[in-house]
Amino acid sequence: MSVRNIFIVYRKELRDLLRDRRTIISMIVVPMLVMPLLMTGMGGAAIKIVSKASQEIPRVMVLGGEDSPKTLAALRGMNTIQIAPTRADYTNQIAEKIIRAAVEIPRGFDAALQNGERTAVRIYIYEGEIRSSFGASALERFFRDLRERTVRERLASRNVPEQLIHPLDIQQTNVAPPKKVSGNLIGSIIPYIIILMCLTGAIYPAVDITAGEKERGTMETLLCSPVARTHLVLGKCLMVLTASAVTTLLSLCSTGISFALAKKMASGTPGVGGLPLTMDPLSLAAVFVLLLPLAVFFSATMLTIGLFSRTSKEANSYMQPLLILTIIPAVASILPGVDLNWRLALIPVLNVSLVSKEILSGTFHWNYIALIFASACVYAVVALTAAVALFKRESILFRT
């Protein structure tokens, strides 16, 4: 094994790649921009939308209630809603976002409450529309208060203690540290994004130095050199790994920075200030170490696909199904109820994704981590062996 030859190939490939503008974009610009844009751009926009919606006084419509002046007056007296004039096309008005919600008060509503009867109100909303839900919440709060007040009055009039219908209170207290809460909420999406970056970081350089070289005619020039095929593959793979690792590392750094920025933005915003956004640098470093064998696996697999292909276009068409094959296990790790076990610990991509989720929430299952790291290394060696074997086959190298 000539380490000198491997490094000669590696150095040349790296220099060649760093002079390519497309590589700089895929390796440095994209990972540095994706997370900040997602967190500060989309996240910031979402925070602003929620904040603005929560500050708005929603316009709501009251349907009926002409014979219930007491309730009507109470509703009109609320300063958290604006009452819109009643119209028959209230459903259209809600759908077109002219009003946020409508409440239907049945005939004889006040009288029913007065006489101790059971009655009901109906709130019309635009499901999934945040401003509509704020309007509906204001109405619901009003009627819930009214219901509780009525219950208290009815019990008092019959000399029945309130405890009779409220024998116990239920209270929830969070005992998980903020890091774990944060890890559980956002820890599943982060490994997914980083794994994708790890893969995308390898795609372009791998295709460029295999199928791209075949297309440009430099592969034959290189094969004329006396360096062993294995050393050529290892040198090339090392360069693809560097690109993948740099992309992943930059993604991790930008993720950390993005969380810090998002936390700062959220802390000053009404309605969202309590979001538990905590990302521990040590956890991020541990995730990076776990991702390294996965990056080798990706690099060698990409290299194998690139070598098999006649042109860059053909290689890129093979990359699409591979991308989907990677996304499926990465997405599966986000699904609720998918937790790490011995069987899942052996499935490539899914295992790293699941254990990264645990690590980011501060839980280090060392036995799983060891198994996943070892299995990822085995997959990496298998993929590397396949790439070397393919590089020795003339039917692949000179495929026409």
Binding site: K12, D16, G217, T221, L223, S225, P226, V227, F398
Partner: protein
Amino acid sequence: MIETRQLTKIFRDKKRSEIRAVDAVSFRCEPGKVFGLLGVNGAGKTTCLRMLATLLQPSSGTASVSGHDVAREPEKVRASIGFLSTATALYARLTAREMVEYFGRLHGLTEGTLRERVDRIFTTLDMQEFRDRRCDKLSTGMKQKVSIARTLVHDPPVMIFDEPTHGLDVLISRTVVDFIRDCRDRGKTVIFSTHVMREAEKLCDTIALIHSGRIMAEGTLRQLRERTGAQDLEDVFIKVVEARG
């Protein structure tokens, strides 16, 4: 020195079954001589030279280059050859100097030797002016010079040229032809493939006429003329091919 014995290459194709690209080819190239493989497109010239450069494995038969067997010692064979063809391109994003230095390093040259040799080759080939220019910014002639420098950097005893003037204009072709003559004059073993009869007439000490993967005739230009009774090499070639059916 290059020697082949019954060298054969068979490609297996699903549609066309078996293709004998090179069929039991035997010849010998001596140092200080230019051996020409002359044949039409698809005759098997490139396959034959690729086997000599160890890019392809022979299906049967043997070949040795500088005393090294192409099947058993491919790395030693590659260390002793300079291979130039229209398919051996340059790395577009490397400069002319980086390109030649890269191949020098791959051939195991030390940094001191490499610097001295690159400097000498660049001066000889009049390349100093564009030594730090990227290969994608070079003209076709400059690129061909870089390719020549790349094949020379490790000073190989054997030079293999596969249609080296294909697609080049007359001035650049002249540079390549002069370079091949220079290699011969310096005692290197030169094997050269072409389908251009005129080039073979000008350059080759021995010509092998190759057709459908087989060598139909071999000898000096005078011997081939005497054997066929034709003067023009094109007529010689056609007579040989027709006579062998």
